[in-house]
């Protein structure tokens, strides 16, 4: 049995200081065993500016068993599978302890984004690139952040303007032309 009371406490505590940590956990559906974590890409890394979603599943043994976590947002990183989002991190495996929480696990994942460990890779291709062609790695990681970790916000902006009655293709091109500035795009759409 998942310790639901504990999960509830964790959600409450984690979301209380979301302003400070930038990390939050929400329910995916109406069950406390399937959650979505959100972490901001660390500043000064190719992940800066991105918002990364982590799919969290709690097994029956939680908090004695580690939470199952994987990236739902595609990310280019030596310790994260570029295909499946699987994460190679000791505390999600044998180094897990009930003394840890969903929030501390997400903080560890955020720290992993800052400090990759290419010698213990999850994604061999990315790790090779990280070691042998670092510049290309940084470029690819940044491109993936732009493309996958920011689209969420972009999609929301598109959705908002489409709901105002503008055709989607037009909204998209206008937003692109204004550098995704919502207000500028709206002005432009209204004046055209």
């Amino acid at each position: 049995m998942v310790d639901l009371a504990r999960v509830q406490k964790e959600l409450h505590e984690c979301n209380r200081d979301v302003q400070v940590s930038g990390i939050n956990v929400t329910l995916k559906g109406d069950s406390l065993t399937h959650l979505i974590g959100t972490i901001p890409g660390p500043i000064g890394t190719p992940y800066e500016g991105g918002t990364f979603k982590i799919d969290i599943t709690l097994t029956d043994g939680y908090p004695f068993e580690p939470p199952k976590m994987r990236f739902a947002t595609k990310v280019w990183h030596p310790n994260i599978s570029s295909q499946s989002g699987a994460i190679c991190l000791d505390i999600l495996k044998d180094q897990w302890s009930p003394a840890l929480t969903l929030k501390t696990a997400l903080l560890s994942i955020q720290a992993l984004l800052s400090a990759p460990e290419p010698d213990d890779p999850q994604d061999a291709v990315v790790a090779q690139q990280y070691l042998k062609d670092h510049q290309t790695f940084v470029g690819t990681a940044r491109y993936w952040t732009e493309t996958f970790a920011k689209t969420c916000a972009a999609e929301e902006k598109i959705q908002k303007l489409v709901e105002m009655g503008f055709p989607e293709a037009h909204v998209r091109s206008t937003l692109e032309a204004t550098g995704w500035d919502e207000n500028l795009a709206l002005e432009k759409l209204l004046s055209s």
Partner: protein, 301 residues
């Protein structure tokens, strides 16, 4: 025959894997799940062999175990059988020290009905809570484990409607929803004590591994299944103020070829009292048998 079967399984696995390998690195994920599955399979197998806390057995069962073993061990067991009447085995899942400590302590309270001891240990547990808070642990991460242990402590004292019998104590010690929580409580207490007195423990930890005190606690104290060492026992005994005697059963023998059964008393607050002698006045009520990598409970005569 067995080998052949093994080969067939391997071939099947390989085909499976190469089929998956073409589909990106999906198989690395499967491999992780495989490991987890295998891990729980091993645990289930262990569980069939011995519960978290076993039944009380006469010491002769230990002798039987080494029938064909080293003569030194057999002689030591003979010495041990003069001092102890029985043994209670615990499961070798890395939590055996904590599980032995839990059962031996609660059983002692159940038998002695020592109210003063319960009040004393409760005060120390309050202190442990404060230690953890000072160290920055969020209260909700440990409060449930603490509350559950206090509940066990209260229920072994007779005379209230929540009081439990010896049989019930044994059942609870075998039930993961009590037993694992108490183990985790003890791990929290141990970790807090080590970190509170990190200067004292640092040299011992450096002797075990190249890690900081905090890293040691994160990797070798707080995760379930991490085995206990001198450092853990010293810290737990000090934090709760409960002396523990550990009797060592290993192949070491003395130079003058006389058989000597070593023991070590962990005595809170006094630094540890050394080997054999000196410590007669202390008389710890928890006695554990240590064999390399494992702890069981002993019952002195």
């Amino acid at each position: 025959m067995q080998d052949q079967e093994g080969d067939v399984v391997n071939v099947e696995k390989e085909t499976l894997m190469s089929a998956q390998a073409s589909k990106d690195d999906e198989w690395t994920k499967i491999r992780d799940d495989d490991i987890m599955q295998q891990h729980s399979a091993i645990q289930a197998e262990e569980a069939l062999k011995i519960p978290f806390v076993g039944d009380k057995e006469p010491l002769s069962s230990l002798h039987a175990e080494y029938q064909l073993g080293s003569p030194i061990l057999l002689q030591k067991i003979k010495v041990l059988s003069e001092q102890c009447a029985a043994i209670r085995r615990t499961r070798g899942d890395g939590n055996c020290f904590f599980r032995s400590f839990m059962f031996a302590y609660l059983e002692h309270i159940l038998n002695s009905q020592d109210q003063v001891e319960v009040q004393r240990v409760k005060a120390n547990i309050e202190g442990c809570k404060k230690t953890l808070l000072c160290l920055g642990y969020a209260e909700f991460t440990f409060e449930d484990f603490f509350a559950l242990f206090i509940e066990q402590l209260d229920s072994v004292l007779q005379g209230s409607e929540d009081s439990i019998s010896h049989d019930e104590l044994l059942q609870r010690s075998r039930d993961p929803s009590v037993s694992d929580y108490v183990v985790m409580f003890l791990r929290f207490v141990t970790s807090g004590e080590i970190r509170k007195r990190s200067e004292f423990f640092e040299p011992f930890i450096l002797g075990l591994m190249n890690a900081s005190v905090k890293q040691f606690c994160k990797s070798s104290v707080e995760p379930m299944g991490e085995e206990s060492d001198h450092v853990h026992i010293t810290a737990l005994s000090d934090a709760l103020g409960v002396p523990v005697r550990v009797v060592y059963l290993d192949r070491s023998s003395c130079e003058n070829s006389s058989i000597n059964l070593n023991h070590h008393d962990f005595v809170p607050g006094s630094g540890n009292v050394g080997n054999n002698g000196d410590s007669e006045s202390i008389n710890p009520f928890i006695t554990l048998l240590y064999r390399p990598g494992h702890y069981d409970i002993l019952y002195p005569k």
